[in-house]
């Protein structure tokens, strides 16, 4: 098991520089705004732009720029300064991370619990009216664009612009440490919207897996041993059916920790996703680079955790 974990960690460590290199190459190949010009302002003279190009190191050969870029990140953990606001990128990311973590983890709890509950109920009472209603709703939620769902949620339930003034609306987010109650209430709508699609997917996935698992021989054996149906489902059926869900849960959390752009934008939550989106629209390479790295880090870590959990749940994996 230890060797397995070390192997996964080493792969993760190798992936980070690869992702950094890819970001660097993509940013320079794709047509974007000239960073020196961006920094200089729209009508700066060629002289000013040329000076800035030197300051930003953009006059150096590409390979030198690449070396400086990698050295800055991995030897000094220096992500540079925003071309746009001149603020240090590391500080910007650290500032935004708590909001994204709050949003993602809360939503993950909701979608996992609701997905599990609905999936189990649908599998146990399959083809019942309850199952059909649940799977129909799931289909609607999977099809609904997140952005649209967010707007609808606000127009229906936000305290400021909603028809039923129930939850705090967009822009109400505050940090957990500054006001825990406000933090909690401001995140209810975003959590529900962010969780909706994933909950629906998980419910369908768990339903399908559980139906398949419940037809296995060992389930019949468990029933023959006289175990209660509840025990058969939860201890024997679900443990096997949940394995694929664990895999996508890790990936989903990793991806969302890299930024839930649409939900963060609609609900005006200052998270990593919005930071990244703004940076892309402004061709602000240092921030794009920083946020992509953070996203990659989360995805890699989530993958490693999932792999380890998977290996724990399924002994066949660790011996491959």
């Amino acid at each position: 098991m230890t060797r397995y974990i070390i192997r996964r960690l080493l792969w993760g460590a190798l992936l980070l520089p690869l992702v950094s290199a890819l970001t660097f190459v993509l940013f320079r190949i794709l047509p974007t705004g000239d960073p020196a010009r961006l920094r200089a302002g729209r009508s700066a003279s060629p002289k000013v732009i040329a000076e800035l190009r030197v300051d930003l190191g953009l006059n150096k050969p590409l390979i030198d720029q690449f070396w400086l870029y990698m050295k800055g990140i991995f030897l000094h953990f220096n992500l540079g300064y925003s071309y746009y606001s001149t603020a240090p990128v590391r500080g910007l990311i650290a500032d935004r991370l708590p909001a994204t973590i709050s949003l993602t983890l809360g939503a993950a709890v909701i979608w996992l619990l609701s997905g599990l509950a609905v999936g189990i109920i649908s599998a146990v009472w399959r083809r019942s009216k309850l199952d059909r209603a649940a799977m129909g709703t799931a289909l609607v939620l999977i099809s609904a664009p997140e952005y649209w769902l967010g707007l609808i949620a606000l127009y229906l339930f936000a305290a400021d612009i909603g028809q039923l003034k129930v939850f705090p609306g967009a822009g109400s987010y505050v940090g957990l440490t500054s006001d825990p109650w406000k933090w909690l209430t401001s995140l209810i709508l975003p959590w529900l919207v962010l969780a909706a699609t994933n909950a629906a997917i998980y419910a369908r996935l768990i339903r399908g897996n559980l139906i398949e698992t419940m037809g296995e021989d060992y389930i019949r054996t468990a029933r023959a041993k006289g175990l209660t149906e509840r025990r058969v489902i939860l201890r024997h059926g679900l443990r096997s059916a949940i394995n694929p869900v664990m895999t996508i849960l890790g990936l989903d959390i990793g991806i969302l920790l890299g930024g839930a752009v649409l939900v963060e934008t609609v609900f005006e939550i200052p998270g990593i996703g919005r930071l990244n989106y703004d940076a892309i629209t402004h061709s602000d390479f240092p921030i794009v680079q920083g946020t992509v790295l953070v996203a990659a880090l989360f995805i890699i870590v989530a993958n490693i955790v999932v792999d380890i959990a998977y290996a724990y749940l399924d002994p066949r994996v660790r011996f491959r």
């Binding site: 974007t32 000013v48 612009i161």
Partner: protein
């Protein structure tokens, strides 16, 4: 000599000072701030009589570009910068024609040879904490000098101040073009007699004082960090800690900004009423959501252009909370005057005649937010009326805003295409912006209706300028989505950079059509040296007429910018800044 343009939703701004920089602008006290159609206009909003106190909430989709007064160059930046900083001159909200002395104690004096400008500054203006001391002319000198510091890299320093003596050697420290004979006097020495344009530029935030002893250590950083530690002279300041640090305290990029009262501001030295206790700016919301929050909520404004759907909603249901500002810039189609088919003047005229400018404007929101553009000087710019006003010059290719294929055919034949259709083999390279795709498509289909083969590429606006339209070597034939906003109300600020051949540069070029008519160039160079509002108006209006006669580009929109407020906000918009709400004049009812 001017600034750049910007197309798209957010309009940049401008500023300037007119000839006789005298007290002006007055505090208009109109009994009603709304027009006959129930919409507000910055021209008529009352500037006096507001209630004091409370905090205004600003919901903006866009972030600041830069809050350093030496770098700020964007409409949203300007509203915060002009509430916190005092340049030598500035505009009152209802005017884009006359600048008022701000930090200056009175009008500037221009020497008879047009090569020296003397400005006296007010006594008793103090910097905010932690500097606290009185402002002197040396602080203004340093503020302008730092524009040449590569770490500051002011975007318009070279455009407007290059005639200062010793400019070429300026690196951020003292140079011979600026002297301060005493604590309250600053003198600008020019190598050529273009005092008017230098004086006009003193309305820009670069002339707001910066204390050298405090700022120098921040200006030594690459890039400067003074903006993150700035001190204020205006009625408000960015909230800061005891060390003066703004970043992370009063400004969190992409998130929020907080303006609080400047404890050292003395109202006796300022024309701003400053009714509000503070301004809380929230950044980054979805335009459809924040628009509704503002219209249905209280104490709020949106200070960047609302979504089209929100403007429509405001017009239908919240009309008195909608302000539309004229004179917010211009949109036109740049055509390559140097090479390719449009080097032929008659083909340019044919394109102009054929284009349905009404349809172009409908695509961007219709007559509520744009008038059909008929020439290049736009409303509120001196010379606009002399150059033809809204109707524009009486030339046949300009007289049919919906497009006239008969007139277009006439010019096609004059260009040597007897069938009225282009028969050359050239495929036109057309590069537009994704933000204005519909307008680009209309322009492209017009070209095709004239027989041209075209290749239309739609790219991000910044890419359109940086990689294509602003790079002559790319040989782009048509850029259908370019636009311009003047830095100040002067014809030169609209026409010079965009149409003077001497301003064509290899990259970052703003003369997108590479217009280079020696007669027009000479007229512009002559007009630059004129002193006096009336003379300049007439000269630049005449140049505008020449540009129309030359069909140097194809104009289509005089932009009018909308902004919105909550019902309990007595908003006062800045005519000089595309109608954006002025925090120093706005109050809560």
């Amino acid at each position: 000599m001017i600034k750049t343009m910007r197309i798209g939703a957010l309009v940049a701004l401008a500023a300037a000072c007119a000839t006789t920089i005298a007290a002006c602008g007055s505090g208009g006290t109109s009994s009603s701030s709304v027009n006959a159609n129930g919409i507000q206009s910055p021209k008529t909003e009352p500037q006096t009589g507001g209630k004091r106190g409370r905090t205004l909430i600003v919901l903006n989709h866009e972030d600041f570009e830069n809050i350093d007064p030496g770098i700020a160059y964007f409409s949203i930046d300007y509203e915060a910068v002009y509430a916190t900083q005092r340049p030598l001159f500035s505009y009152r909200p209802n005017t884009f024609a006359e600048a008022s002395p701000d930090l200056a104690s009175g009008p500037a004096e221009i020497s008879s040879d047009g090569k020296t400008i003397t400005v006296h500054i007010r006594h008793g203006v103090h910097f905010s904490p932690p500097v606290n001391r009185e402002v002197t002319s040396a602080d203004v000198a340093y503020a302008i000098e730092r524009g040449a510091n590569p770490n500051v890299a002011n975007p318009y320093f070279e455009s407007y101040f290059s005639s200062l003596e010793g400019f070429s050697k300026a690196k951020g420290g003292p140079f011979p073009g600026i002297t301060t004979p005493d604590k309250y006097t600053i003198i600008f020495h020019l190598a050529k007699p273009n005092a008017q344009i230098v004086l006009d530029a003193l309305v820009l935030p670069l002339s707001a004082p910066v204390p050298e002893e405090y700022a120098k250590k921040y200006d030594a950083k690459k890039p400067t960090e003074y903006g993150n530690y700035q001190v204020a002279t205006g009625p408000y300041m960015f909230k800061a800690d005891s060390e003066g640090k703004v970043l992370g305290v009063g400004y969190q990029p992409g998130k929020s900004a907080t303006l609080v009262r400047n404890p050292n501001w003395n109202s006796a030295t300022d024309f701003r009423p400053a009714y509000l206790d503070g301004i809380d700016i929230q950044i980054g919301g979805d335009k459809n959501v924040i628009g509704r929050q503002v219209l249905e909520g209280s104490d709020m404004v949106q200070n960047d252009p609302p979504a089209k759907t929100i403007v429509q909603l405001a017009y239908e249901k919240f009309r008195s909370q909608l302000e539309i500002s004229p004179g917010a810039g211009t949109h036109y189609i740049a055509v390559n005057n140097k090479q390719g088919p449009f080097a032929n003047i008659n083909l340019r005229k044919a394109f102009w005649a054929a284009l349905d400018r009404v349809a172009m404007n409908k695509a961007s929101g219709g007559s509520l937010v744009a008038d059909v553009e008929t020439h290049f000087l736009y409303p509120e710019i001196p010379g606009f009326e002399d150059a033809g006003g809204l109707a524009g010059p009486k030339v046949d290719y300009n007289e049919h805003p919906e497009g006239d294929m008969a007139v277009a055919g006439k010019y096609m034949r004059l260009a040597g295409y007897p069938s009225g259709k282009y028969t050359g083999s050239k495929t036109l390279q057309v590069v537009g912006s994704t933000a204005h795709a519909e307008e680009a498509e209309i322009a492209n289909s017009t070209l095709r209706s004239l027989g041209f083969n075209t290749k239309l590429s739609l790219v991000d606006q910044s890419v359109m300028y940086a990689k294509y339209c602003g790079v002559p070597a790319e040989e782009i034939d048509v850029c259908p989505n370019v636009g311009w906003v003047a830095d100040f109300a002067d014809g030169q600020a609209v026409l010079d950079v965009a149409f003077n051949g001497k301003n064509i540069i290899p990259s970052g070029n703003n003369n997108w059509g590479q217009v280079n008519d020696p007669t027009i160039n000479a007229a512009m160079d002559k007009a630059e040296l004129l002193i006096g509002k009336e003379a300049r108006e007439k000269a630049w209006a005449a140049i505008d007429e020449e540009l129309v006669a030359d069909a140097a580009a194809v104009p289509y929109a005089f932009i009018k910018e909308p902004v919105i407020e909550s019902k309990d906000v007595a908003g006062v918009g800045d005519l000089w800044n595309a109608g954006a709400w002025d925090y120093s004049f706005t109050s809560l009812k």
